[in-house]
Amino acid sequence: MSATQKTSRTPRRYGMVIDLDRCTGCGACVIACAAENNVAPGAARENDRNSISLLRVFTLNNPTAAGRRTAFLPMMCMQCEHETPCVTVCPQQAVELDVLSGIVEQMPQRCLGCRYCMTACPYHARSFNWGDPSWPAGMEATLNPAVAPRMRGVVEKCDFCQSRLHAAQDAAAVNGSLDPGIYTPACVEACPTQAITFGDWNDPEGALAKSGETFAWLEGLGTQPKVRYRSGQNWLHEMAERGGAAPAKEERHG
């Protein structure tokens, strides 16, 4: 079942459609995300498994001979809506599905760092602060004042740039409204090819409703992610439908 067909659970159901045919894998979203959310620059020990990556871009290789050779897959928290795997497992309500926006919230200040949510997440969208985040001397001046840096020993993840939602909410409140409407997360703003469309799945006139046929990764798990993808390339659809990786009998390039 597509996220577009579901009945509304929350007043807003923010989500994304990412056009994989437009993504060139430049990584602007990755850096913009890190800068926006006060992610510290990688220390020497940091790699793709122990760093803080709220948004990652995976490189996918076309296993079939036809079509484009490579696709780049930006992946952040998929904001699962049904049986959200990380929400049910957290022992102390540090993870919740927001009642207003449908965003899966992660509260670093409540988190005790058990990492159960990380094992529960099928998309590996969560990062753990293995050590204290640190910036070179003086670089604290470049921290975003609307985002609290996380401390060591807690899990963090994409929250659709909550600080920007807050700013939109504040601006709306000046005019007596609580509804922030559509705002722009950092990755959406940074994407040079406009591959990411951000919107509200509840809005029948919105950008997401007009995004045409979309698919999600690991739909079989039934978690109804609100971040969905679009592509005209068949091999990507086929790959997304298949759960679990099969070991390559031999390397994919012959």
Partner: protein
């Protein structure tokens, strides 16, 4: 009998320490940079809270005013008090910012939207800040040595009952008000 006396002695000793000595140890008194009189600004200056603590058109809350906005009126001393002289000579003239200790300062991870509470919910400043806006002098500021936060966040007494507005600003205080008014903000509504 002697055991009982010893027991009571121990009991009394640790109760006394816990309820009287411990708070003395826990909090550190810090001076405000200036004796500020809210009342005189409201009465003589016929100002409102929002004259200095304003919500901007884009919803940002200015918080504590910058020295420049004090200087708008206080370019020259407006009275003969010592504080007035200090303000003009030490801050306004050299364009130095005042290092106010903010009683209601919340930790970094708390997001409080004045725009939502003042503009949308039409709440009065006193509902959270109490009578601070009509005080004639800056009351002492106490910093919790463990958390580094203002004592007003927890409240003046160890036991958190009978708190007046402006005294307790812990998450549970926010929550109980939100519950009363039937508005839920979720976690990220108030955290960042």
């Amino acid at each position: 009998m002697r055991v009982l006396i010893a027991f009571l002695l121990g009991l009394a000793g640790s109760l006394a320490f816990g309820w009287w000595g411990f708070p003395q140890l826990l909090y550190q008194r810090e001076p405000q940079p200036l004796q500020y009189n809210h009342k005189i600004h409201i009465e003589k200056g016929s100002m409102e809270c929002s004259s200095c603590h304003e919500v901007a058109a884009d919803g940002q809350f200015a918080g504590i005013p910058r020295t420049a906005s004090c200087g708008a009126c206080h370019a020259e001393p407006l009275g003969k008090t010592e504080a007035e002289k200090i303000l003009v000579t030490s801050y306004v003239a050299p364009e130095r910012e005042l290092d106010w200790k903010v009683y209601s300062r919340q930790p970094m991870n708390v997001r409080f939207s004045h725009a939502v509470h003042v503009n949308k919910a039409a709440m009065k400043c006193e509902e959270c800040h109490g009578g601070r806006g009509s005080a004639t002098a800056a009351e002492p500021f106490y910093r919790n040595r463990v958390t580094g936060e203002s004592r007003n966040v927890w409240g003046p007494r160890m036991i958190r009952v009978g708190l007046k507005p402006g005294e307790g600003m812990k998450m549970s205080d926010c929550e109980s008000c939100h519950e009363q008014k039937g508005v839920s903000a979720g976690c990220l509504g108030c955290h960042r």
